[in-house]
């Protein structure tokens, strides 16, 4: 008998991603329930954190006090998470695992070891992307980012690493979402003569508009985005033929096998496994369920249990292997969860290092070109 | 001879409260009828009632034998009644000429003579024809309002204090115009505070107080009644 709150950004700026994320979380918990864990049925309930601190705090308070959650998956957005954990969950001693809050700020939180995430901090990805580009011979780029914690965090990490390693950044500009035209922005970005545009934005928001307008007007030869730009819909909308020079980086699981297991189950449940943050959401929920099982429902032991099930040493558990995990835990053995989105070896701050790959567009989807370091 | 306008026991008001408590009036063809009474008696309200601008809860209003109670104002204008309200009776942001044009809004085409007729009645307006009505003096506005109402050749004219703020010269003129208009076959119902002068030139008069009829009769008759003079005409 345990309760888990699912705190998604159901309304607000990332509302578009929320359904897939929530469904993935539910998938994990439903699987766990079907396996019949020793702690009994895990009840869960959705809460909307609206990607807004105020809404999130309200939601968290309800989750903790009214619903009586033992742990929470989410909140989805960094700002919302910071507010909710600071004023509600940390004081109340509730474990929180976020699948999508990527702000580097979360790393430094004084969190009494109660805040974790299955998505790497933007810091890692930005740096990795910088190194990969240099390695591929791209020495001069222009950087455009959406002005929010995601875009900005990535852009700054990228800039620091890229410049430190000898690259040149000709333009470094933020922009707001939802403008009709970005052509003047693009014209400004093009000044300085870089032919690669690094675009930290979302593929279902201004990122798509900018990409489209850049291609339509012949700005830049090559475009590079991060995980936010990895959007299937974008390929459909802009047409694959136009995206020959468009690349994205995105976190991937260490072993392709783990992702495939998740993908299979997801497809069976009618979910798109490649949807943004679907895999991390699944992992976050799965980890919470495993930790609950390991801690035998004792709230105070949850953080410790989470570390135990997520990190080596221990027998490897892949997505969907609930029976096996249950068995091992019942026998008092250590397990090590290998998730759909990575290994989730939490560091001292509750962050995962993450591994990334570089993708190109092919066959209506994103194909891995190379691993990133 | 059928009356032009009959108000029969009209009861009504603006919100829930009644202002008119059973007002009855009759205007016969070719007749000038004047309503006098203290401030707040409901004179203007009675006029608005004819024009469908007041909630009527009881009673009936007939125009040339046809019941028009509850009609929309534009339908009533079309039926042949013109009305000059007591306040806000010009289009302040339109020129004098445009104000007159609006008077003839329902006519298919407006003839130049119609304008000429009004400009002859009020020569002051001709000079000001391109001025915004909002910039006119109080009296000049009153002229515009009258002129607008006369543009369509109505069969019944309702005038709410047409002489308020007009110089004595124009007051006389307005009364004269009323007589002239009446002689062309238009019936006129007007409210006046210049009660003595009005009663002297009208055919019949009504005295209204606190929303009901108090007296009625020929103008001279009312004028000569000392009680009425004391109570309503300023001694």
């Amino acid at each position: 008998e345990a309760k888990v709150a699912l705190m998604g950004g159901i309304t607000g700026p990332i509302a578009g991603m929320a359904p897939a994320m929530i469904a993935s979380m539910k998938l994990a918990l439903d699987q766990a329930n079907a396996a019949g864990l020793a702690i009994g049925k895990i009840t869960y309930q959705e809460f909307d954190c609206g990607c807004n601190p105020q809404v999130a705090t309200d939601a968290a308070t309800k989750a903790v006090n009214v619903f009586g959650a033992d742990a929470a998956v989410g909140p989805a957005c960094s700002g919302a998470l910071l507010a909710a954990v600071n004023s509600v969950t940390i004081p109340a001693g509730v474990l929180v695992v976020s699948p999508s809050a990527t702000s580097p700020k979360i790393t430094d939180l004084d969190d009494k070891d109660l805040v974790f995430r299955t998505v790497p901090s933007d810091d890692f990805q930005g740096r990795a992307l910088a190194r990969t580009l240099l390695e591929r011979g791209v020495k001069k780029v222009a950087v455009a980012y959406i002005n929010n914690d995601y875009g900005k965090g990535l852009a700054e990490a990228f800039k620091a690493e890229f410049e430190a390693k000898g690259g040149t950044i000709t333009q470094f500009r933020g922009h707001e979402d939802k403008k009709a035209s970005y052509r003047s922005d693009l014209a400004e970005l093009a000044k300085g003569g870089a032919d690669t545009l690094v675009l930290f934005d979302y593929g279902n928001a201004s990122g798509m508009t900018i990409l489209r307008q850049a291609i339509e007007n012949g700005f830049f030869k090559q475009f590079v985005g991060a995980d936010g730009m990895r959007d299937e819909n974008l390929i459909k909308t802009l047409g694959e033929a136009n995206l020959k020079h468009f690349f994205v980086s995105a976190p991937v699981g260490e072993a392709g096998a783990a992702f495939e297991k998740f993908a299979e189950a997801a497809r069976k449940a009618g979910l798109d496994p490649n949807a943004t943050f679907a895999a991390t959401s699944y992992d976050a929920a799965a980890l919470v369920a495993l930790a609950l099982e390991a801690a035998k429902g004792d709230k105070a032991k949850l953080p410790q249990a989470l570390r135990a099930v997520a990190t080596a040493p221990g027998e490897r558990i892949y997505p969907g292997e609930w029976e096996k995990a249950k068995q091992l835990l019942a026998e008092g053995k250590e397990i090590d969860y290998k998730g759909a989105s990575g290994d989730h070896e939490f560091d001292a701050k509750g962050d995962v290092p993450g591994s990334y790959a570089f993708f190109k567009v092919e066959g209506g989807t994103y194909k891995e070109v190379q691993k990133m370091k | 001879m059928n009356p032009v306008l009959v108000m029969h026991q009209v009861r009504g008001g603006y919100g829930d409260a009644d202002i008119l408590h059973g007002v009855s009036l009759t205007v016969n063809p070719k007749e000038i009828v004047v309503i006098v009474g203290p401030n707040g008696a409901g004179k203007s309200t009675a006029m608005k009632a004819v024009f469908g601008l007041v909630k009527i809860r009881d009673g009936a209003i007939l125009f040339e034998g046809e019941e028009i109670t509850g009609w929309k104002p534009d339908a009533i204008v079309r039926r042949g009644i013109s009305y000059v309200p007591q306040v806000k009776n010009v289009f302040a942001e339109m020129t004098v000429h445009e104000n007159l044009e609006m008077g003839a809004f329902l006519a298919k085409s407006v003839k130049a003579e119609a304008f000429e007729r009004i400009y002859t009645l009020f020569p002051d307006l001709k000079a000001k024809r391109n001025a915004l009505a909002g910039s006119l003096s109080g009296g000049q506005r009153q002229m515009v309002a009258m002129g607008r109402a006369l543009m369509l050749n109505p069969r019944l004219l309702l005038l709410d204090e047409p002489t308020a703020g007009l110089s004595p010269k124009y007051m006389e003129q307005i009364f004269q115009i009323c007589r002239d208009v009446r002689d062309t076959g238009v019936a006129i119902l007007l409210v006046e505070q210049h009660a003595k002068q009005a009663l002297a030139f009208c055919d019949r008069g009504y005295v209204l107080a606190t929303g009901s009829n108090r007296h009625e009769g020929a103008g001279q008759e009312l004028l000569n009644d000392p009680e009425i003079a004391q109570m309503f005409l300023g001694g």
């Binding site: - | 401030n39 000049q140 110089s167 004595p168 007051m171 004391q230």
Partner: protein, 301 residues
């Protein structure tokens, strides 16, 4: 009618005022010097110079569009004159704001009453006195005693004014519910809540029932005699002008046509022609000429 005001100081104006007026001819209360108010090319007020003696009721008449209301607007500060100067109580006020003129005792009423509809009648009056300490944001907190004291004074004064105007029974009514005539009285009452020296009345009689108007006239006379208010009064009602005003000024086309006592103005052929609209017959003209001659003789004597 409350009897009180009548009993004291009854004959102030009749005996004293003319003397005072003569002696202080140089110290007029209001002095307009060649005032011009132009709208675009059109001169609504076109070089008006006049003096208003303290204690008088000056009647301002003239055809519609003569520029009377515009002149009021300029005096009260609603418009800045194109040219000319205004002196009030020995001080030049041509460039002052409306509220500054108000504070010097120059008060106007509106042709259409401008009451505060959702305030009670009493509150409508209590709002008026200028410089009430309680109107300062902080005074309530730092000098509550003084605030309470002035408030009591203001309230008493408002109650007195209401008694004078015979409005006591509607004291706690919302002002918006008053009838047209009562609003006119309220409008007048507001001028009594401050130390007005000069009150500008714009057509107080228009649309007012004649019976009520007679009362209004009485009030104005009392204010003039016993409160020492000076009035300028725009009106088209000749009865009222005749009863109250001396001198009478007739304007036409932005200029002063004639100034004098009522009879003089009333019978001036130009006034008859432009304003009163009575046909001028030769014999009347002769009669007028005779009267004028007589007056000149009197003046010389």
């Amino acid at each position: 009618m409350s009897g009180k005001p009548h009993s004291h100081r009854c004959c102030a104006r009749d005996n004293i005022a003319p003397v005072v007026a003569k002696r202080e001819r140089t110290m007029a209360l209001l002095e307009l010097e060649n005032l011009v108010m132009a709208f675009g090319g059109f001169r609504a007020v076109d070089g008006v110079s006049l003096k208003v003696e303290p204690g008088t009721i000056t009647g301002l008449i003239g055809p519609n569009g003569a520029g009377k209301t515009t002149l009021f607007n300029v005096i009260a500060g609603a418009y800045q004159p194109t040219a000319g100067r205004i002196r009030f109580d020995g001080e030049e006020i041509t460039r002052l704001r409306t509220d500054e003129r108000f504070h010097r005792g120059l008060v106007r009423t509106f042709q259409i009453p401008h009451e505060f509809p959702r305030l009670t009648v009493l509150e409508n009056l209590m709002v008026v006195p200028p410089k009430q300490p309680g109107e300062q944001l902080w005074a309530n907190w730092f000098t509550p005693g003084e605030v309470a004291r002035t408030e009591a004074e203001v309230r008493q004064k408002a109650i007195d004014v209401l008694a004078f105007l015979e409005l006591t029974h509607v004291m706690n009514e919302r002002a918006g519910n008053l009838s047209g005539g009562q609003k006119k009285l309220l409008e007048l009452g507001r001028t009594m809540m401050t130390n007005a020296k000069l009150v500008l009345l714009d057509e107080p009689a228009a649309g007012v029932n004649r019976t009520l108007l007679r009362k209004l006239e009485e009030k104005i006379q009392i204010l003039n005699r016993e409160w020492n208010y000076t009035f300028i009064l725009i009106e088209h009602d000749m009865e009222m002008i005749e009863k109250l005003c001396d001198p009478v000024i007739c304007m036409a086309e932005g200029k002063v046509l004639i100034e004098g006592d009522f009879a003089t103005v009333r019978n001036d052929p130009r006034v008859l022609e432009a304003y009163l609209g009575e046909t001028v017959h030769p014999e009347v003209e002769a009669a007028i000429a005779e009267i004028e001659e007589l007056e000149i003789e009197e003046g010389n004597a």
